[in-house]
């Protein structure tokens, strides 16, 4: 049995013992009394808030329970916010407006309410050259309390190919930002105080992730001093397994890719306590066509596979566990009423009961993005509505951060206008509407949410069982299991759209044959800019020609002798470009063989 088998058993056991606990609370007087006591204490701790209309409300909504069995059931199946099994949320309070909250006794002593100091809104951007994306970051974050910068890279960067490589000219700066050197990295985040706690940066890149993060760290050291690493806040995606299963942007074979990742995670766990060195991602799995259940099952099982891999290297789950983060897609299928909270539950049980990890490692920290695939070109302003509904589902599931897609996403890298609308959708939901800012649990725990959640949980376990039968995650990967399932689901989805089983407004329903929709402002990178990126790269490589070979040889030695590759990369990137480093790695460890 692989560890996934143990996780399946742990979840089944958790459900089973939950029922036992309910019975026991009813029959065992002592336990019953303790339940009532716990419940009273939980209720007493809840602070209050006053709405602009003068309504005084508790900051957490709990059901009216006065029977020990039902209390036990609630605590076991639902849990308090920020408490195991974290169905409601990872933290006790999220999204609440500090302005309207009355400080509790506790908070009075600690001088003020600290909740909700940071917006969950995180806007993904990347276009053209580093300075273009930098300008977009400044534009998007100009009114935010905190600066949460989320970076999309162009194709050549994602594949670790230099802008000067044969045949990639057209791709430079399209769909994301072009980064070739540490100097580009400096330009990318210019003007942001990366050493301050209100700035966090995320980078959506996996294949060459350690090289890019090394550039980020090295660039930050230039600006903020050599001890800045410990202050850097952010996330890098670096998810090897989902690349193999869905996104197809892996560069090196799986084994060395995992090793480079583990080196980076190890380094970050020790030296960069505020950095999330991996974002275990279902987003691309879902976008490639997976069903919501497949998304959740493959992402969670990938997460557990990483835990196994890191532990086998001797790393401590309590040290690296809190630095793992997750990234999921939220679409319009009914599963999404409960999917994200079920993921938190499964993760918590696995981490606690199989790996013995502590609370910080049990909580699944989640970034969500609304579904890109659900957005369509026909009658595209409808996309505003789709995204708004998906946002609602994501926040009902207490995501920790969220990116909302722009309505023009089917056509182009978002224009400023629609990126603004996308950001404002979140502000309208969280700040303008009263749904999330006054009270925790306003929309959690409905009967429908529970019924769907149970069905989703069982379906995820069924997927786990199949993966377990194939020898665990890596065995299933080898057999193309996840890939073939995702592709089959994607094909079915398209067939369902074609034959109308799946209604899509504007496409197979309510379509307007002479559709006269607003013009889209297409974002394109000018030829001159692409050339400029090539020239800059050439110039960098010329200036560093003297140190190149020695730096790369040093790097090869570390790879071959088993040292920490990430640590060495922080030095290498001072003198070598992304393309040069990738090429050297390929010579030493080989290339990823594409799976189709």
């Amino acid at each position: 049995m692989t560890s996934l088998g143990q996780i399946i058993a742990a979840i089944e056991n958790y459900r089973h013992s939950g029922l036992g606990q309910v019975q026991k609370a009813r029959t065992d007087r002592d336990l019953g009394e303790r339940m009532l006591q716990t419940w009273r204490e939980a209720k007493d701790k809840i602070g209050f808030t006053v709405t602009p209309t003068g309504l005084r409300l508790p900051r957490l909504a709990l059901p009216d329970l006065d029977e020990p069995g039902e209390i036990a059931r609630f605590l076991w199946d639902e849990g308090l916010p920020g408490e195991f099994p974290f169905l409601t949320s990872a933290y006790a309070e999220q999204y609440l407006d500090p302005g309207s909250a009355e400080p509790t006794e506790n908070e009075k002593q600690q001088s003020g309410v600290k909740i909700g100091s940071e917006e969950p809104t995180r806007l993904f951007a990347g276009l053209g050259l580093a300075e273009d994306t930098n300008a977009r970051f400044h534009y998007l974050s100009r009114n935010q309390r905190s600066k949460r910068l989320s970076t999309a890279f162009d194709g050549p960067t994602l594949y670790g190919v230099g802008a000067g490589a044969d045949g990639v000219f057209g791709k430079i700066g399209e769909g994301g930002v072009a980064i070739d050197t540490i100097e580009d990295m400096e330009r990318l985040y210019a003007g942001f105080a990366l050493d301050q706690p209100d700035v966090s940066v995320s980078m959506t890149i996996s294949g060459p992730a350690p090289i890019l993060l090394a550039m980020y760290v090295a660039a930050a050291k230039h600006r903020f001093g050599s001890d800045v690493a410990a202050k850097l806040r952010g996330t890098i995606q670096a998810d090897v397994l989902k690349e193999v299963q869905a996104q197809n942007e892996l560069i090196f074979p799986i084994e060395p890719s995992l090793r480079f990742l583990a080196d980076m995670v190890d380094y970050c766990s020790q030296q960069m306590p505020k950095w999330y060195p991996i974002s275990i991602s279902g987003y691309h799995i879902a976008e490639a066509g997976a069903t919501p259940v497949q998304q959740a099952a493959y992402t969670l099982s990938n997460g557990f596979a990483y835990v196994d891999y890191f532990r086998n290297r001797g790393m401590d789950a309590n040290v690296f566990g809190p630095r793992l983060s997750f990234f999921l897609d939220c679409g319009l299928d009914i599963e999404y009423i409960a999917l994200l909270r079920i993921c938190r539950k499964i993760w918590a049980i696995g981490m606690r009961d199989v790996y013995g990890a502590d609370k910080r490692a049990q909580t699944l920290k989640l970034h969500t993005q609304t579904s890109g695939r659900s957005l369509i070109a026909a009658d595209w302003p409808n996309n505003l509505t789709r995204t708004a509904l998906e946002l609602m589902l994501a926040y009902m599931n207490a995501t920790n951060s969220c990116h909302s897609n722009s309505a023009d996403e089917p056509f182009t890298t978002p224009s400023e206008e629609y990126a603004r609308y996308a950001a404002h959708a979140q502000a309208i939901l969280l700040e303008e509407s009263g749904l999330f800012k006054h009270m925790m649990n306003t929309l959690q725990g409905s009967p429908g949410m529970k019924v769907v959640g149970n069905a989703v949980e069982e379906a995820i376990l069924e997927e786990f069982r199949e993966i377990e039968q194939q020898g665990g995650v890596l065995g299933a990967v080898e057999r193309r299991y996840q890939r073939s399932q995702i592709q089959a689901a994607g094909y079915l989805l398209e067939r369902q759209i074609c034959n109308g089983v799946r209604p899509v407004v504007g496409l197979n329903r309510y379509n307007d044959p002479d559709g006269n929709w607003p013009e889209v402002h297409m974002i394109r990178t000018a030829k001159e800019k692409k050339q400029l990126q090539r020239d800059r790269l050439q110039d960098f490589e010329k200036r560093h020609a003297g140190e190149k070979l020695q730096s790369l040889d040093r790097l090869s030695t570390v790879v071959e002798q088993g040292g920490n590759v990430f640590e060495e990369l922080i030095y290498t990137v001072e003198h070598c470009s992304l393309g040069q480093i990738t090429e050297r790695f390929c010579e030493v460890v080989g290339k990823f063989r594409p799976m189709v």
């Binding site: 045949g167 990639v168 057209g170 089917p410 182009t412 080989g590």
Partner: protein, 381 residues
């Protein structure tokens, strides 16, 4: 009616294969033979593959931008080889290709862009109307010795046409230097990876003027379509020194296609290659695709098996074990390898034919087992 053969791919630095996977599936379900080159493929790789496969059209599915430049580069390369307008180009990119860009692309010679929301049936209809009845005539003699001449000969050979005997160079000399190696084995044994790794070693160790050909088979579906996907997982075989051709089995069982021997003959007689590697489809226990001895058309037959072929009883039933020149236990990192090797060793010792037994892990960079296989069969002579 010959099957329509098209080539599909996703451009360089782009891994968005969800659309093309769906489209490929729809095409093959309706009788099209799709040679799929995979994602992150350069214009150079695409054109080389289309030429070698003698595809009537190239379908490109793009998503992350730069499509105008990319399609243009594909067209330029086709033009240089005088393959336009014979090979048509079609493609799509959801909403990312604008109507204006499509106009530019049409002006440069792109045949058709499918916009967002195009039903699968419409694409299939276009394919049938435009590409199904394309007539592929033999090339003029002036092209003899080129890859495109060879590719067309293979097309005609595959159709079973009597070919054009006067254009085929003189019969193979008895001392023909071309060495033909056949690789067979069950699905999932890793044959394609092994071949690509052999090619890697060939390209590095043999002189620049030496070339290798690959004849790769994939099964046809009911309804006669086929997904010819071996190219998609290859890394090193995307090289001008490699000529690869994909064949669908078109109803024949046993691992090869009805035209394999004809095609092999054409490849040999072209005298362009020092080595020809033939890959069968995943075979069953009874298959002896290369026949026995010289009749099979290969100089050496290699059986590739994974360690988990089943019990020893299952092993006894694999007919190919008696006729292969070498048996390779690939994926030697998987559990059960030691047992597999011991069982096979026992069996071939009883055969007393001097069969080689090797252990490889083709998916490992610079695997010494693959080195050994290469040295045994393809090393310097």
């Amino acid at each position: 009616m010959p099957a329509t053969r098209i080539l599909t791919a996703v451009p360089i630095c782009d891994g968005h294969d969800s659309a093309i996977n769906t489209i490929n599936l729809e095409f093959i379900r309706h009788g099209v033979e799709v040679v799929y080159l995979g994602y992150n493929r350069s214009a150079r790789d695409i054109v080389r593959a289309a030429l070698q496969e003698d595809a009537v059209a190239i379908g490109i599915s793009t998503y992350n931008g730069g499509h105008v430049e990319f399609f243009e580069e594909v067209l330029d390369r086709l033009n240089q080889l005088r393959l336009t307008p014979m090979i048509k180009i079609f493609g799509g990119g959801g909403g990312t290709i604008t109507a204006e860009e499509a106009k530019i692309m049409y002006a440069r010679g792109v045949d058709r862009i499918f916009f967002a929301g195009t039903p699968l049936a419409e694409m299939l209809g276009y394919l049938r109307a435009q590409y199904r009845d394309v007539v592929q005539q033999p090339y003029e003699r002036l092209f003899i010795g080129t890859d495109q001449y060879l590719a067309r000969e293979l097309t005609l050979g595959e159709r079973g046409a009597p070919g054009s005997p006067e254009q085929i160079p003189a019969a193979t000399k008895p001392d023909c230097k071309t060495k033909v190696i056949g690789l067979t084995g069950p699905g999932g044994a890793g044959k394609t990876t092994l071949i690509d790794e052999l090619v890697y070693r060939f390209l590095r160790s043999r002189p620049q003027n030496q070339r290798v050909a690959i004849l790769a088979h994939d099964p046809s579906m009911i309804g006669s379509g086929a997904l010819l996907g071996d190219r998609a997982t290859m890394i090193y075989s995307q090289d001008d020194r490699v000529f690869m051709r994909s064949l669908a089995t078109r109803g024949q069982t046993g691992g090869l296609s009805p035209s394999t021997h004809r095609c092999l003959d054409i490849l040999r007689k072209s005298e362009l290659f020092d080595v020809i590697l033939v890959e069968t489809v995943g075979t069953g226990q009874e298959a002896i695709p290369f026949g026995s001895g010289a009749l099979g058309g290969v100089d050496k037959a290699v059986l590739v098996v994974p360690p988990d072929y089943g019990s020893q009883l299952q092993l006894q039933k694999i007919a190919m074990i008696d006729s292969a020149d070498a048996i390779v236990v690939n994926k030697s990192d998987l559990p059960g390898c030691k047992t597999a090797v011991a069982e096979i060793e026992y069996r071939i010792r009883a055969n007393q034919k001097g069969q080689a037994l090797l252990r490889t892990q083709a998916n490992r960079h610079r695997d010494t087992g693959v080195d050994q296989l290469f040295e045994s069969f393809l090393g310097r002579e």
